[in-house]
Every structure is written in structure tokens, then in C-alpha cells.
């Protein structure tokens, strides 16, 4: 699936998007996998209260299932307007 990062999450991880092969069942499982990879992921995902997630472009929760999902995006709380 494609994993996208925005704002300071993108800056900490260093790339705006990447294709990831994963068998993670939920968003939380995916985060656990990513955090174990490299320090830059640990830096981005260390405080989940500061993060929001969208699955296939819809805001959701960290326990959202990933079966059949094409796109997951991580970003800080939104500041539009």
C-alpha cells in the first residue's frame, strides 16, 4: 500500500510517500512495524496523541483495519481556515 506523510511528519521521515509491503492488520500494527524500522520513524510516531490518520483519504482511528486498503496517510492535527 502507499503510505503518505504530511507537514512535520513528512519532514521527520524525510519523504512524502512510499510503497510499503505489510501484513499489518490495523493502523496501530503498521505504526509498530514502522517504529521498529529506523530512528526517523520512531521520531515521527513517538507521540500518537499528536498524530492523525486517514485510510483511503478518510479520517479514522488507529485501530482501523487495513485489509484491502490502498492508501494510508499520517499527519498532525489539521490547521486550515
Amino acid at each position: 500500500m502507499d503510505v503518505l506523510y504530511f507537514a512535520w511528519v513528512r519532514e521527520r521521515i524525510g519523504i512524502p510517500r512510499e510503497a510499503i509491503e505489510t501484513s499489518a492488520a490495523t493502523v496501530a500494527d503498521l505504526i509498530t512495524e514502522l517504529r521498529a524500522r529506523e530512528d526517523r520513524y520512531e521520531a515521527a510516531f513517538s507521540d500518537l496523541t499528536a498524530l492523525r490518520v486517514a485510510v483511503d483519504q478518510k479520517l479514522t482511528d488507529f485501530d482501523a483495519p487495513l485489509k484491502g486498503v490502498r492508501e494510508v496517510a499520517f499527519f498532525p492535527p489539521m490547521t486550515g481556515g
Partner: protein
């Protein structure tokens, strides 16, 4: 109903005139405009607005459709810019049209409250000293509870 996510400036007068035209039965038009403001201590050189192409349009359409359902609106308009803006430039506008003003005012407030916290935009303030992401405010999230 029209949603526009764009990097180019918009003309508030033209947009408002076009929005109001052709609604003979709408007695009230409310518009709100968000403007880049300077910082008091550290002059703002620019505000950069990042967004999530695709999801942004979908989220704004969903929010506007909710407003059209909840209030008696004849029409709604949301324009939001992204990219690099300087102080006094207009960031975004919403407009609502209804037969009487109450629905137009309330729906415009609803659109703004949801747009601030549920549409995927992120602002960064660039000054001579720093480039900081704007932090979301707890009161913006709290504002959703009244709806």
C-alpha cells in the same frame, strides 16, 4: 455548491457577486474570508499551506454537503488556497445563501469550524528566524462539539 482548492489568488468581490447572482429566492448571503495576518513580535515573511490533494476536495465536499443538509441553504461555496502566501493575502472564503439570514450565518460558522479541524491543510509560518508549523488549538477542536 462549489469547492475550489487552488494555489492562485481569488477575488472576493467577483466570487461574492457571482455566488449571489442567479439566486432570486435567496434573501441572505453570508461570506467569511480568512486572511494571512502578520505576527506581533517576529514579522511574518510568508505562510506556506500544505494540503492532501484528493482528500482535501473530498473532505470539503463532505462538509459542504452536511451544511446543505442541516440548514435550508440554496447554495454554498468554499475556496481554499495552498502554497506560499504573504500577510494580507486571502487564504480562503466560504459563502452561504439562504432565504433568511439565520441559516446562512449558522451554516457559514459550521463550515468554518469543520474546515479548520477536518480538512487536511497544514500551515507553516516563515519568519527571518524560524519556519514553524502552526499548532492546532484545543478550542478549534472544542468548537465542533456545539454542532
Amino acid at each position: 455548491m462549489r469547492i475550489s482548492v487552488q494555489d492562485t489568488p481569488f477575488d472576493l468581490g467577483t466570487e461574492t457577486t457571482n455566488f449571489a447572482a442567479g439566486h432570486r429566492d435567496m434573501g441572505a448571503i453570508v461570506t467569511f474570508t480568512g486572511v494571512v495576518r502578520d505576527l506581533p513580535d517576529d514579522p511574518l515573511e510568508a505562510m506556506e499551506i500544505e494540503h492532501y490533494p484528493g482528500m482535501t476536495e473530498a473532505a470539503l465536499t463532505d462538509i459542504a454537503e452536511q451544511a446543505m443538509t442541516r440548514w435550508s441553504l440554496g447554495d454554498a461555496l468554499v475556496i481554499h488556497r495552498h502554497g506560499r502566501l504573504v500577510p494580507s493575502e486571502m487564504i480562503m472564503m466560504v459563502a452561504t445563501a439562504s432565504r433568511h439570514r439565520k441559516d446562512a450565518f449558522e451554516a457559514a460558522e459550521f463550515l468554518m469550524d469543520y474546515l479548520k479541524s477536518r480538512a487536511p491543510f497544514w500551515k507553516r509560518e516563515i519568519t527571518a528566524k524560524s519556519a514553524d508549523w502552526v499548532a492546532a488549538r484545543a478550542e478549534d477542536e472544542d468548537a465542533l462539539k456545539r454542532w
